[in-house]
Symmetry: C2
DNA sequence: CAGGATCCGCCGCGATACTG
DNA sequence: CAGTATCGCGGCGGATCCTG
């Protein structure tokens, strides 16, 4: 890839993550390590040759690294890769403002993208650990003043569970629908802290 | 340009500002409106055909607009364009961490890029209005808790002036050199507020 | 079947020349 | 000074093939 050759932070960043799909791959990995095929599956339009090339580039740039877990090969962000989160949230926040009319035709939806946008809305004064169940998909959400960690995986030791159909959770995350149709189990005060931490009514 | 077709803020943002050179043009305009030739001059490697195409795209996306001032045509950011600043600073901050060894061979330097990185370091508890003179170039720096505005232009009504050679200011901005070699005139307390607002020793 | 590699075609982009 | 026109290359999209 052609470099900008400028002694400037933005230019150096774009030298590494300015290529097509690169930041979207980082966004995907922000919700936990994933397999090659999972990344491909959640990024339709990204072809296998380019994904392989990008993963190699990003590994050389020390943004991610390959790990082996339970016999599976997984791609996981390094500390340096996770440090891209503020930039990704800032860019994402700017982009959300351009999405007034709802999804365009042929726009794809993924709950992971809505989950990520919650990180931006997090005010950070409460803490807790809840599980969000949307249809078959499960997200583990830990929030505290100094740490915010969302992952797509089965929760262990979550103090509460928020459950709804795929459509209900999707409407809440993307469309600003009310929280109320969702079913809540477990520690209700944890759910209340969750709602207050995210500015929910 | 090919769109990602994802109902996600990051993807929508990259649809608009993900193309090569686009964010660097925004970065340049963050220090004030500029003429076509000025943008070209400060972005070596960007060819004139691509610059014209990018400016047209960005005008359609309402990131910038053409204005006429003193008979000159200028390109200026819109409010929406200026809202990209947090994302640019976040990406820039990430990139600065990859610049440990000083400039690489063939890296170009521009004071404007260092000025911009100061926005990131600004803590925002003081206010003032100073003029920075580096050789022939003059920057107008206004800082207050709720507003931070740096522009490359002649200052009017600045309460103090900080002056040095191009090399001295460059060393201070880029290399973390000490502030001391620079010559200061005018209201010394404004300079002190300036230094404290930027965490200078 | 997961995890790639290989080949082809197009268009975004770089370099240069040209115009009002 | 502010762009437009033309050409060529390489990054990227699409499809197929390979390998454990």
């Amino acid at each position: 890839m052609k470099r900008y050759q400028q002694y400037c932070g933005l230019a150096k960043a774009l030298d590494v993550v300015g290529g097509r799909w690169t930041l979207l791959i980082v966004r995907d990995l922000l919700l936990g390590p994933r397999r090659y095929g999972e990344i491909r599956g959640s990024l339709p339009g990204l072809t296998t040759n380019l994904l392989a090339a990008r993963l190699k580039e990003m590994e050389e740039a020390e943004i991610l690294h390959k790990i082996t877990l339970h016999g599976m090969q997984l791609y996981a962000l390094t500390a340096r890769g996770r440090e891209l989160e503020p930039a990704i949230l800032a860019l994402g926040g700017w982009g959300w403002k351009r999405m007034h009319g709802g999804p365009e035709e042929d726009d794809r939806l993924d709950l992971r993208w809505g989950i990520l946008s919650m990180k931006r809305r997090y005010s950070g004064i409460e803490s807790g650990h809840v599980c969000l169940v949307a249809g078959e998909r499960r997200f583990d959400l830990r929030f505290s003043p100094d740490l915010l960690d969302f992952q797509e995986r089965q929760s262990i030791d979550a103090s509460a569970q928020i459950q709804g159909t795929l459509e209900q959770v999707r409407a809440w995350l993307f469309m600003g629908a009310t929280f109320e149709p969702l079913e809540v189990q477990g520690d209700l005060s944890a759910v209340a802290r969750f709602r207050s931490g995210f500015g929910l009514p």
